[in-house]
Subunit: 191 residues, 4 copies
């Protein structure tokens, strides 16, 4: 089956989610810089969510470049990824309203964990659909960066619950640094 | 005529509808887990609608893979499908607010029936546009799964009206199980 | 220049506008069929706007199938079309709230006129960009249906102003019937 | 790496942003022309933002036509462009509510400056990714129009702050005139 529609569909979802994130920002309550500073922390959380979505897009983009075939399982793994991505505006908005509360932070961290986990499942499904694709195998076999990220996602939820809710967004943001540079391996395979 | 734009257009609509579903979720009324549980049943209904949309996308994706030509009737059958899909955020939101009331459940069930019926019409239109396409013929001639689903859609509306409104969403969700695995027939035609 | 991005961009805009139309529908004020009937006239106006958008999409789809080249003027004519399409949710929502008032009906009619006029300009720009394309020439030279539609759009505004505002939406809907069947000429050129 | 998904993704974002701009328009407060005139200045600001987005789209479209390869840096430069584009509905809406206030105008001007600057970065990144592409080199080496625009963006912020906030939107709109005609150079390269 052709992978083009899956790519285009995922692109459309991420594009919409990125744009809707801003819609959830509250209009400043007045026309002054002070009014704007009142919503400034929202901008920071918005920015973190935006960067996450950009990184997921980059990785999805790279991943599908080395893949030839997809199957039914791939579609469902991709739908799970899309489901978790569509939850971003909801959780970003809630965590913006109550950045220091436990419940919004836990939900935010849980959605990030779900997204990373579904990315892992998508990789698995693509390996199964392309059993002879050595690039895929090499990328996902012992994908330490991904396992480490999943571990940090879980740890963040635990420490956020035990110590301080803000740790969740801080730890999940820090681990993003690992993903800023897109997979060099993929770029060299394609050359 | 080329089918690519029809695919891309339908993908864009489904992507937007999936993302807007979440926008209709009410923000929890506070920063606690209890506040979140107050909107939890909304999440379940959201999830059902999301899975339905994912299944429609899968089937549309598979259907258009075995088709070469489209004509004017195909466009209109596809527009009817799109019309019913765009109604999902509206009915999902209403049924979320009143899950046990008759009117919202009936409307929700009616939109699902309309969507399934327009999928049936789309299949008919594609067979007419591709009279020599044996894969299409084989898929849609005696498409028992689709007829059974349409029958359950109608039965759900009847039983929901006579006995208990909740039966509508329950029966329409259960019949989805038949559609979770994308058409194997299509995948084997393409190989 | 390639026409693909112009097509994809226009598709995305129409897909979003179609989906947002529903978002502007007010949630029924209660959980009864009576509450739903209270918003029923909104559904009819929504349906008219949806069918208009579907027809614009069909025609845009057909138009670009017989075109090879685009230029800077084409982009701007297409942007004017997109501008008027994006105004549909706004005017549809206003006319839904006050279906019998003059100002909303006049604005609704004006947006339809602008859209039809920009479609006319787009045709002109495409003829200029493809001077040797005989299909384009044949389609747009003496395009009586389009001229008649523009005339009815203007007449509707006049009669709506002089006699009864509702005439605008009624006349603009009736003239749509001419456009329901996509251009057979285009389909035969492509064969 | 293929540039198609970057194009499609950017198209989707601009299409959504253009459509959401209208959503932020307040519904007129009544059913009269007077009520509509009360939101008229919003329409003008909406129109300016729309034309800006159309110009960015045109330039992005032309830019990617002369490019063959992209790399990781290109993706991030493009994400920065997308980030600033997604901020348009937010700042357009704020500046519509308070067109003569300093803070909203400064923010509006700052988002325009960020967008132009990220377009400059995108050009740089594409030159690095396509070192032997003479069309790109010619277009961006000594790109006086772009440098002049960035200068006017900064001057507008300064004069808006010192003299009159409205100068920001006026100057940033006037400089758009330079960009209305898409790059002829690009069109001639492609021929």
């Amino acid at each position: 089956m052709s992978k083009n529609r899956v790519e285009a569909f995922t692109d459309a979802v991420i594009a919409i989610v990125m744009t809707l994130l801003v819609l959830e920002l509250h209009q400043p309550d007045g026309d002054t810089f002070t009014a704007f500073l009142g919503v400034e922390h929202q901008f920071i959380i918005y920015l973190i969510s935006f960067i996450m979505l950009a990184i997921y897009w980059n990785n999805h983009h790279h991943l599908f470049q080395i893949v030839q075939k997809i199957n039914g399982w791939t579609l469902w793994a991709n739908h799970l990824l899309i489901l978790s991505l569509t939850l971003f505006p909801f959780v970003t908005s809630w965590v913006s309203d109550y950045p220091t509360s436990l419940a919004p932070q836990m939900l935010y961290g849980a959605v990030i964990l779900l997204t990373d986990f579904s990315y892992f499942l998508l990789g698995r499904a693509l390996i199964n659909a392309n059993p002879n694709n050595s690039s895929m195998q090499q990328l996902f076999r012992g994908y330490r960066k991904l396992y480490f990220t999943l571990f940090i996602n879980c740890l963040a939820l635990l420490l956020g619950w035990l110590i301080e809710p803000l740790l969740i967004i801080i730890m999940d943001s820090l681990v993003l640094i690992l993903w800023v540079v897109p997979e060099k391996k993929v770029e060299s395979y394609i050359e």
